[in-house]
């Protein structure tokens, strides 16, 4: 596990500096475009300030913002005992000391994400739709995938990469807007009389190229990395649960769902276990997608018959992908011990009852919305909405008068 974190840290740094260099270059060139003498420095300064502010914001408040934007609410064990237990099960399987906070999003579309730059204050959020469609093994698979993102320190990496991408996109936006309103031309005409016009033309061309290619480049970089993290989290999840079929079935159910996640947008989409912004019939989407094609992830998981170690995942990945590509870092492959999957387990979670699961998910959402739950001793469960304003409620079965606050 340590090896995995180490290799991720190294990658974090390379990415960090690589994208940082791109950012500075863009700042300098855009600045020079406006003012050849002092503009470069001002542009770099502006880019760095913007980046520092956004990075600090996302480091300290990013997960809170993300959770708030997606409408997630923190839950305690009594809201949805099974979810809480499954998270604890995966925490134990991973052998980690921290316990992620658990959030539920009231949305019928099944999906989930993890957040938190430090494992100690990480969180796992799932939609109520996920809870009502998945059985226990499938839920374990999804939670294991999210737990792996936290344990492998993927979130820090993705957060910083996301901010870089955002700043570069914003800079290009400002540049184009400035050009549209003719902000640059005033300076250009003045300076071209003084210095050589040729250099000015080069700067202008460079600036336009960077404004167009910068965001695309940053995005490709970002996508390439997030794609790898998804495969790796799948591999880790299979290893944690020893039951790849669970996650495979869950991915299938999520992909087949007809609901659309309400709160997802372009910025938050890469955080989810399955891209919530699915567009139909887009082959091109595979190239720029933040997530590997879901059918391929399922195929790999289902082919993990002999073993579920990282070595097995790498081998099966190459077999299905048809070409050599390192998806699991070398350092981890070296450490990998033989891990056999659970055998004789069919995906039939005998306790699973779709009606029950839906009821429990609904109850969880009601509890989140301050419904008062009373278990009458006669066996009737009374759920009282927060706007119910009478002081007592009478159980229609046994006549017990329940006092409310």
């Amino acid at each position: 596990m340590w090896e995995l974190i180490q290799s991720n840290r190294r990658k974090s740094l390379i990415l960090f500096f690589g994208m940082g260099a791109l950012l500075i270059l863009i700042g300098y060139v855009f600045g020079s475009y406006y003012d050849p003498e002092a503009g470069g420095v001002v542009g770099v300064f502006f880019a760095i300030v913007l980046w520092v502010i956004l990075s600090a914001l996302s480091y300290f408040a990013g997960s809170k913002i993300l959770l708030a934007v997606s409408g997630a609410k923190e839950v305690t064990k009594d809201v949805h005992p099974q979810l809480y237990n499954v998270v604890e099960e995966m925490k134990i399987a991973a052998g980690v000391p921290f316990f992620p906070k658990i959030y539920i999003i009231d949305d019928p579309a099944p999906n989930a994400f993890a957040t938190g730059v430090k494992p100690e204050n990480s969180a796992i959020a799932v939609t109520s739709g996920l809870l009502s469609t998945l059985n226990r093994y499938e839920l374990q698979g999804v939670v294991a995938h999210e737990m792996s993102h936290i344990v492998n320190r993927d979130i820090l990496l993705m957060t910083f990469a996301g901010v870089m991408l955002g700043v570069i996109t914003i800079m290009s936006d400002i540049f184009f807007r400035g050009m549209y309103f003719g902000g640059g031309s005033r300076y250009r005409s003045r300076s071209s009389s003084k210095s050589s016009g040729q250099a000015q033309v080069i700067v202008m061309i460079l600036a336009i190229i960077l404004a167009i290619l910068g965001p695309v480049l940053a995005q490709l970089f970002y996508f390439a990395i997030s794609r790898k993290r998804e495969y790796l989290a799948d591999a880790s999840a299979a290893r944690l649960t020893r039951y790849p079929e669970g996650l495979a079935n869950a991915l299938e159910k999520i992909a087949n769902s007809t609901h659309k996640l309400r709160s997802a947008n372009k910025v938050t989409a890469p955080m989810y276990i399955v891209n919530p912004l699915k567009r139909e019939g887009m082959k091109l989407a595979d190239l720029t997608s933040t997530h590997p094609p879901i059918s391929e992830r399922i195929k790999i998981l289902r082919a993990l018959q002999q073993g579920v170690s990282y070595n097995d995942y790498q081998r099966v990945f190459e077999m299905i992908h048809g070409k050599k590509e390192k998806i699991i870092p070398d350092s981890v492959l070296k450490e990998s011990i033989a891990v056999t999957p659970v055998i004789g387990l069919t995906n039939e979670d005998k306790d699973f009852n779709p009606i029950e699961a839906r009821r429990e998910a609904n109850d969880a959402v009601m509890k989140l919305n301050d419904y008062n739950f009373i278990n009458c001793k006669c066996g009737v469960k009374i759920k009282i909405p927060p706007d119910y304003n009478k002081p007592i409620v009478v159980c229609p079965r046994c006549g017990t008068r329940h006092q409310l606050r």
Binding site: P81, E88, E89, I92, Y243, I337, V339, L345, D351, G379
Partner: protein, 185 residues
């Protein structure tokens, strides 16, 4: 003189090498201990749940006195076990008896509709899972630790400082092994 320095340097390097192996062994051993503590926590949790379960089930189940007595008996055996082997033995007997109880629950629809029992059932299923995941983590750690002890050159250091191989936490019951993630029903 120059040979002496080279000799000294080699000695220092060897010592450093051995220290790093020693530290790695200590780290692995601590991980094994920590993993064991995790299993222990969950086994205790299961022991705590059992009186509550028996209490809830008693009123409904009339013909399963023997199973309930066995559960109580194996529970106290497991609580008093000393070694890993003994503990594994008693715990797997306990798992078996709990499994029998689960099968019988099917015959009592009233019990299955009882809110109290449903909550207990979720807790027991979760605890069984936690035990099996804690065991899985423990056995992985033991495997890595034992590998280190057996392999050259760490086996020399392990021998010098008396690092002993750890026992795996095996479940003897065959039926239980095939379906480690027990679910009710």
């Amino acid at each position: 003189m120059i040979y002496f320095i080279i000799f000294l340097a080699v000695i220092v390097l060897i010592i450093l090498f051995f220290v790093s192996i020693y530290n790695a062994l200590i780290r692995l051993r601590n991980q094994v201990k920590n993993a064991w503590a995790q299993i222990d926590v969950q086994l205790k949790r299961r022991h705590d749940l059992i009186p509550n379960l028996i209490e809830t089930v008693k009123g409904y189940m009339t013909h399963e006195r023997q199973i309930m007595e066995n559960i109580t008996k194996y529970r106290s055996q497991a609580m008093n076990a000393q070694t890993v082997g003994e503990k594994a033995q008693a715990e797997s007997l306990l798992s078996g008896a709990l499994g029998q109880l689960r099968v019988q629950v099917e015959n009592y629809p009233d019990l299955k509709a009882n809110q109290n029992f449903l909550a207990l059932q979720e807790e027991l299923t979760a605890t069984e899972n936690k035990i099996s995941f804690a065991r899985q983590n423990y056995n992985d750690q033991v495997l890595m630790y034992n590998n280190k002890i057996q392999m050259f050159p760490s086996n020399i250091v392990a021998g010098m400082f008396n690092f002993k191989e750890e026992e795996f936490f095996e479940i003897k019951d065959v039926a239980e092994k095939e379906v480690p993630k027990v679910s009710f029903n």
